[in-house]
């Protein structure tokens, strides 16, 4: 669905944010896009949606060049940005004006989403709080049923109950034909939701793996002593000992802790990349 080959991009010609970036994402996944501040997550999402243009390389979304912003692609893509527009329309009016642009728009799903988030459809979007605006645009985005849905920091500004509602609605909206990209710093908000991790660091994709594959290769566990964790990629002191990320030597899959994974990959970029490429196994 998303095919990026040798992409180069920078806000200035001298400082390239992305240099020879390659990425391939397929439908049927909820993909978590993680990275530090300024790593280029939002820029990558903007490049994918056609809001920014690559300086060189190829970027195709559903076999369309996204920079051309052709209606055939745009009607299959919905992007909920982090900064939302303050429109002078009511929710009903926005729905009336914008829903016809999306051929698979699901009216029932929209009504259900709006009622789940307890939004009043007669309210003007401009008058909504940031969190309410987020809820509305997420509701609309989910109901568009576009094959590609991009959510940039969707849980920012949502209260605790709304985060749970968001997770439920997102899980319902996921289908085999849909790719949902969620860029977030709040990894716990999407921990049991995403099935693929894309980790961006210093303009590079340092990890692009399914959670199943990650759990197959890495083990996330608690250890009492530091000695037990010498062989591990990453450890963190907790109240109960050490939270560790190490190579999965058993065939048992542990639950992936996204925060630990993120820190482990950032700290041991090359060795973890080698592990997923299979090089480390062949050394043994």
């Amino acid at each position: 669905m998303i095919d990026i080959q040798q992409l180069e991009f920078g806000y200035t010609k001298q400082n390239k944010l992305f240099n020879h970036l390659n990425l391939n994402l397929t439908e049927g996944h909820i993909c978590g896009l993680l990275g530090k501040n300024g790593a280029g997550k939002t820029t990558l999402l903007k490049l994918i949606s056609g809001l920014q243009f690559p300086q060189s390389g190829e970027l195709k979304v559903l076999n369309y060049h996204s920079k051309k912003r052709e209606p055939a692609l745009l009607q299959q893509l919905y992007f909920v940005p982090e900064q939302l527009q303050s429109l002078a329309y009511t929710i009903d009016r926005y729905h009336f004006l914008y829903a016809p642009f999306y051929p698979n728009f699901d009216e029932d799903n929209f009504k259900q989403n709006i009622s789940s988030f307890k939004l009043d459809s007669h309210q003007t979007i401009r008058d909504l709080s940031h969190g309410q605006k987020k809820k509305f645009f997420i509701s609309f985005g989910l109901a568009t049923m576009t094959p590609l849905l991009i959510l940039d920091e969707p849980t920012n500004g949502l209260d605790i109950p709304s985060k749970a509602i968001f997770r439920t609605l997102l899980a319902k909206a996921a289908t085999d034909k849909r790719l949902i990209i969620v860029s977030t710093h709040q990894v716990h908000d999407v921990e049991n939701l995403i099935d693929t991790i894309v980790l961006v660091d210093e303009g590079e994709i340092i990890l692009n793996q399914s959670l199943h594959h990650i759990a197959d290769k890495l083990q996330f566990t608690l250890a009492d002593n530091r000695e037990d964790i010498l062989d591990c990629y990453y450890s963190e002191k907790t109240l109960n000992g050490y939270a560790v990320v190490c190579k999965n030597r058993s065939n048992v899959e542990s639950a992936v802790n996204l925060e630990l994974l993120f820190n482990a990959v950032i700290a041991n970029k090359q060795s973890i990349q080698r592990l997923f490429c299979g090089e480390e196994n062949s050394d043994e």
Binding site: L51, L87, R93
Partner: protein, 237 residues
């Protein structure tokens, strides 16, 4: 559905544009009515072209200059640029609204207001006031001039992030000043060219601009609109 132009989709886009500008359009209509009320047409009902032209130029150009505020804002440009329509539809909807749409709005509001004002003055106050003649031939040059000047402001609104009306006026003034400074060169060249019997336009590159501004307004207008279309197509958020 065509990737370039589709009538149904275009109708949807223009509907969004009109509704987004609903409030400012109503304010402009109110201003036109107030002006018609304060300055009624006396005598034989000849249209006050100067006043109508002033209203059309002022309100139309202010409207045009504020039309692309969303494209310069990070939060609103996403909504505008990712609306599932073609760049041609995006361009045409705003251009038609600010050119023909604005002409229709101002002229018709002024016409209807002048009828209402005439009724008001004649019946209530006993003054001899007439509504304007809408089909006056004097009206056409005003509209044509507006359309030409509007294309410059349309481009200015896309290029300049802030104070686009002022910046566009400054650019036009600067450009005219340069032409004024260079004008002695043209006259020398014209005389020289006439003496040699050469085609004037080839003699000096500055002649091209002189030629454009003096005689070929219709070259400036498509040029501005063409560049505007490209700027919209190449806008990034």
């Amino acid at each position: 559905m065509s990737n370039y132009f589709d009538l149904t989709r275009f109708y949807r886009v223009i509907k969004i544009e009109i509704l987004a500008q609903k409030k400012s359009l109503l304010v402009y209509m109110l201003i036109v009515f107030m002006v018609a009320l304060l300055f009624p047409v006396h005598g034989y009902g000849m249209p006050d072209i100067g006043l109508l032209g002033f209203l059309l130029y002022t309100l139309g150009l202010i409207f045009t200059s504020t039309l692309f505020a969303d494209i310069h804002s990070q939060s609103s440009s996403t909504n505008y640029l990712l609306l599932p329509c073609s760049n041609l539809e995006r361009f045409l909807s705003r251009w038609l609204l600010s050119s023909f749409g604005m002409v229709l709005l101002i002229v018709l509001t002024y016409f209807i207001s002048s009828i209402l004002v005439a009724l008001l003055y004649n019946v209530l106050l006993g003054f001899n006031v007439h509504p304007i003649h809408l089909l006056s031939m004097q009206l056409m040059p005003v509209i044509v001039d507006y359309m030409q000047l509007q294309s410059l402001f349309f481009l200015g609104a896309i290029i300049f992030k802030k104070n686009s009306a002022l910046m566009t006026i400054c650019c036009i003034a600067f450009f005219l000043f340069i032409l004024f400074v260079l004008s002695p060169l043209f006259s020398i060249n014209i005389d020289y060219a006439l003496m040699l019997g050469q085609p004037l336009i080839l003699l000096n590159p500055a002649m091209h601009f002189y030629f454009l501004f003096s005689y070929k307004w219709w070259v400036i207008m498509p040029l501005c609109l063409g560049v505007s279309y490209l700027k919209i197509a190449e806008s990034e958020s």
